[in-house]
Symmetry: none
Subunit: 200 residues, 4 copies
DNA sequence: AATGAATGAGAGTTCATTCAT
DNA sequence: TATGAATGAACTCTCATTCAT
């Protein structure tokens, strides 16, 4: 951290993170330049370095911002005692809503995190794995209660849910007119039909 | 001054496309440099320009190479008169197998095509849309025959299939030990259960 | 707007000079940054400018501080009426002791003064020449009294004494465990043997 | 090494080393900029990097060039079977002549080598120590033959010779009108008188 | 068909300096 | 007396691209 926790400082730093997210999301990490980020904030290029030690650090902060509260969300979902279906719906909803809200940051996390220096990447990867594991455990519990078909591979299932959410997340970011709730509903419909036992 | 259809020339050009695909896939378009591509081919940086007018052109060729025959494949699938389920299985199989075979190029098409100049991007987009539309029509036919549930949104469904295949494609490219056929089987299982009417 | 002779002000300014000396000595003028100087003083970068108009001015002050009293010392040596040998010993002692005491500043004067703006450099050069001339005159007097061999070139001799002292000064600054008095003794031994007539 | 050993390449690289030496000698490593070096060669700034991976590498090459053949020279002096006095004269002559010939490079080695990355610095330091040790051994041999006074500290003596030569070397580089042979003669005169037994 | 050499534009980064508070 | 925030110029370094050979 450069500045000391002034109010103004942290406000500006947050603004810097959002600006970086926006630029990285549009042009990719290597395709972006710090000048663009600074301009989006209304400051000069050199001033950016008052808030970030390097472009790479900016990427790190964006990625962290991108997944942070969506991972936290998952924790509270997996800790709750809802039914399998309710949890799956909550997961998809949380995931896709995150895309709408911190849209660029989350996209950046997905597409650009591999350009992070190793140390940072590993720290983030743990967060990501955490997310996947909790989801896996939801599926496992579903199998035990009979909600999920016995033939389902829980690891595969978790991966598939995440993959599909990210794919739609991308579309959501790109097309701001997409009806979020419709997408959520159709995704959960597919997944529930795809994984649960047939009980009608 | 670019080579006039010599045998050697087109062989080398093909090699150049594959080298570019490999490098772009690993580092992204902006993160790659022409020197890396040249080195992978065993020639010198300047010599690349005998095969490509620019780095951008190289990207264009890679992207084209990446989707071309996977789109053609889809054409033959959609024109066949198999059942809905057979077509869906064939689609997923073709899509994921493509990833294994021309893995890098297809990944590049997915991740980097937006850095192409507009004209080129539009041409490719048509190919991509074509693919999606054919898939949509497969779902529509499925609905008519009753194989697919009436509540399914065919546009959504096509998008979802593509999204899931790409997400798994990414994992396949990154982890060469993943069992391709297992992935295919589980994906189709999920999709068929997710979209078809329950008939057992 | 610079401080008006407050007690605290001049104390802090002196601290600033010493801090600058230390940093310049270690990293050279161009290799140093104002932030390092400020940090060494325990203030912030911007605050330095309360004490110096510019980085260059700081260099000037350090250089001045570095030679000032060592030149004054020479004045009192050369004005005394000791023998040639005593004066030579006193000179070497004063010179090398200066290095131990205000080590960094003197080193900075030697190594970095050429980065000063012309005006300032000339002013300092006069001080340096003064020193050398007094030393030369000591040698000349030595020749007249017969203490120094007639073949000795006094200009050369003075330059040589200074050169050797600076060379050892450098080693003294870098290696704080060097025995100062041993060095002094060996230097004077060499010089006296080298320049005086052989009288044993 | 970047280029392959073309004739032109190595000629240009040598030119680059000399240009760098000249600029570093005048302004110090941190005070110099690569643009100045390139301009002195008659090429553009960016082209410099065809010959050096970095500014630091340039410094390393300059330093190496600066001491290399002067160290080699010392080897042949110390291996010869001349008298102590002859060897001392040869040493001073070689050292100071080096300054005239590769003047800037040698000055750079003396003043700027500490800005080299550790690995490189150590390699050069070995060369320098080698030089000093050979000189020390010449003094030791001198003591055994009785040419050098028994009270002389050989380590100190070697250091002193080097220090004095470097001090004069600096003056030689700065003032091209200085008569080199006169300086050599006076230095050796001082040193011989300073260190040898009095035999008149 | 290929290369060595060079270029020029632009990137990230550093830093002395300013100034309102 | 001191600081946080910002600036702008300079610097090192990278790279797509060109072209004579």
């Amino acid at each position: 951290m450069l500045g000391n926790g002034t109010e103004k400082y942290s406000k500006q730093r947050q603004a810097a993170i959002r600006a970086a997210a926006s630029v990285f999301a549009e042009k990719g990490f290597h395709g972006s330049c710090t000048k663009d980020i600074a301009e989006l904030m209304g400051i000069k290029q050199g001033s950016l370095y008052y808030y970030f030690k390097s472009k790479e650090e900016a990427l790190g902060e964006v990625c962290l911002y991108g997944i942070q509260d969506y991972v936290e969300h998952m924790a509270s979902i997996s800790d709750s005692d809802q039914s399998f279906e309710a949890k799956l719906i909550a997961t998809v909803t949380s995931h896709l809503t995150s895309y709408r809200e911190r849209n660029e940051a989350l996209k950046v996390y997905n597409d650009e995190r591999l350009y992070l220096p190793k140390a940072r990447r590993i720290k983030l990867k743990k967060l990501g794995s955490d997310y996947r594991q909790r989801l896996e455990r939801i599926f496992e519990a579903g199998k035990r209660t009979g909600a999920v078909r016995q033939s389902v591979d829980c690891h595969f299932a978790a991966q598939a849910v995440i993959g599909m959410c990210n794919a739609w997340g991308d579309l959501i970011v790109r097309d701001s007119e997409l009806d979020l709730f419709e997408v959520i509903q159709k995704c959960t419909d597919l997944l529930i039909n795809g994984f649960t036992t047939k009980t009608q």
